[in-house]
């Protein structure tokens, strides 16, 4: 059992939690993820590690309630326990093992979409702690869905916010803003790290391929075990099949077959909503907390 020691609402349907899991906190590195099982009947839900505190032994997750399992998790409060919490899973970000002096010469842009802002924060902080200030774009549909702006501003070099409806910051998609920065403002980047919804990563990669800027993405396919045992998470990267949970989750975005990845993400959609009639998920029928 893994205790929830802190919980914050960051935006409508987006919350963060600090979970007591000392071993995971001890080993966690930027880019990795965990798997959470809420209760005995729960499914294995992969979530990016958004922060970790080795002293307190806690790991921070930020969750967007999109379906049954994430809604179930939202009902948990400080003092409650999750049944299972396992990690860290996946490969750490590539740059973690790069030569620091080389890295310091590089200009880096982070592009965060929606709840993807959460995993970008510790990565931006990782650079900041090493004396590198990266540029960060936070993109969201509308102002109230912009999360972690203040925390991010403390670790980022330049922080840009874009909202689709223009209710805050730059009006438009993150792709429009990237174009603006690179084409109009003369910014040069050696590489981009983009974390957000699959569809956003697809279009960012389309653009950055044209612009010739290497782009790393963090994929979030359907997963079961997260250890390489089931192949549910397979993605095509440069015409090779990779298991995102062990080979990734971060990949060279210019090599990812996004259309296949988007399609594979929908595999269990109808299945879950079919159970018990219209849009009632499996977990809402029985599974108690």
């Amino acid at each position: 059992m893994y205790k929830i020691v802190d919980k914050k609402n960051l935006a409508p349907n987006i919350f963060s939690m600090d979970i007591l899991a000392p071993r995971v906190a001890q080993s966690a590195q930027p880019g990795q993820f965990v798997i959470v099982i809420a209760d005995e009947k729960g499914e294995r839900v992969p979530l990016t590690i958004c922060d970790y505190d080795t002293e307190k032994g806690t790991v921070t997750i930020v969750v967007q309630s999109t379906g049954c399992s994430t809604k179930k998790m939202a009902e948990y409060n400080v003092g409650d326990y999750f049944e299972d919490f396992v990690g860290p899973l996946g490969q750490p970000s590539e740059y973690v093992n790069e030569d620091l002096n080389e890295l310091k010469k590089k200009k880096v842009l982070f592009v965060a979409g929606g709840v993807g802002t959460a995993p970008v924060y510790p990565q931006a902080r990782w650079f900041h702690e090493r004396g590198i200030d990266v540029d960060v774009i936070i993109g969201a549909k509308t102002k109230e869905l912009v999360i972690l702006e203040e925390k991010m501003s403390k670790v980022a070099g330049n922080l840009y916010v874009a909202t689709d409806d223009g209710s805050y910051g730059f009006k438009g998609m993150v792709t429009n803003l990237i174009e603006d920065l690179v084409k109009n403002q003369g910014k040069k980047y050696d590489f981009i790290v983009c974390i957000g919804p699959m569809i956003m990563m697809k279009f960012v990669c389309k653009l950055t391929k044209e612009l010739g800027i290497k782009t790393i993405v963090s994929l979030n396919p359907i997963m079961v075990d997260g250890t390489g045992m089931c192949g549910a998470c397979r993605v095509s990267v440069g015409n090779e099949t990779k298991f995102a949970c062990v080979d990734g989750p971060e990949f060279d975005g210019h090599l990812v077959n996004f259309d296949e990845a988007l399609r594979r993400q929908t595999q269990y959609k109808s299945e879950e909503s079919e159970k018990g009639g219209q849009h009632v998920c499996k977990c809402q029928q029985g599974g108690a907390k």
Partner: protein
Amino acid sequence: MDRFKRTPIAEQAPKVRSHNFKEVCLGYTEEEAVAEAKRCLNCKNPQCMTKCPVSVNIPEFIHEIAEGNFAEAAKVLAKYTALPAVCGRVCPQESQCESKCVLGNKGDAVAIGKLERFAADWAREHNIEVATAKEKNGHKVAVIGSGPAGITCAGDLAKEGYDVTIYEALHKPGGVLVYGIPEFRLPKDTVVKHEIENLKKLGVKIETNVIVGRTITIDDLFEKGNYDAVFIGSGAGLPKFMGIPGENYNGVFSANEFLTRNNLMKAFKDEYDTPIKVGKKVAVVGGGNVAMDAARTAKRLGAEVWIVYRRSEEELPARAEEVHHAKEEGINFELLTNPIEIVGDEKGWVKGIKCVRMELGEPDKSGRRRPEPIEGSEFEFEVDTVIMALGTSPNPLIPSTTKGLEVDKRRCIVADESGRTSREGVFAGGDAVTGAATVILAMGAGKEAAAAIDEYINK
């Protein structure tokens, strides 16, 4: 009594069981077990034993059953196998112990597996304690993985007084016994859970949700955990795919995914959250136990099922009993058939599988006749789900995070017969060393390694 006829055993009727997940075989009653045991000739030079990988003293335990001493029978078994209730159910007896029973020359071999299962079940149901642990000896051993290899190694060491902790990556212990082999062949809440409880009674600690190589490393175990030795029983969990076009369409799953969703995550029960997709028509590619398990699970979830296997019936690697049960349950067999492409619809979902007919040519290295495609025999049939059951290989995670741990070309950990690896104090056994094999071999390896670890620590 006809000495050459096997005592029949009760099973759920095929029509009934193909709609539920309860165990197919109901086991012998006491009378039936005694009757079957009395068929054994108690051979002076028992050939059956020569084909049991752990050399169970078969005539001895069967003799106890014949005498009605069921608890004694269980105690005899416990000397050789840590998991008799499991082995009795899943060993490929027809190619092991029972293949050499003298009675088999003229009639039916003694039902050694069924008797083994009977004795173990009887002991469990009557709360017979078969093992006790010696006083703690102050030495610590870490066991990675809680499948048959890990369970056996941990149990044997605990009995010798070692302080043993098992680290398991998944949230439930048991390895393939829990996530792979379905409920209808191996009941989890009775048989498997009991074995795990027994381990705990011996003082073995089990820490789930710990992935060695990620959460902690083997070096951590030695340096921070102060373990004297480590046993790796991490299995061969990595699924293979064919590499044919269309394999990433929606609706193509590995048997591991399909079975894990169903068995470990209990997707077949409505009250569990994990979804499972089965479709109406399912092709299962492969001919081993895994393929039979996936096929029969899909059937129970309501699908019409075809096994697609490239060799002939004779070469099916699955246990004979599973093939027989699958047929009884109405699984269709497309033998001498090999998939060459998976066909998808415009939305990227599976709508069919393209295959080619095969014929058997000259024997290959494995001694089995090599299947070769028959030119021009391509055909397609309609399915909406394809399950790949092509075998598995060891996960590279532990070798890649453990300096000096040698692996071979197949990524199996290199270990000698006692389980010693290239790293001092690190032992390994089971599927992680041999590649996908059997429960009894994994158990045997766990046993050998426990003895070697005891020797290593005491030297």
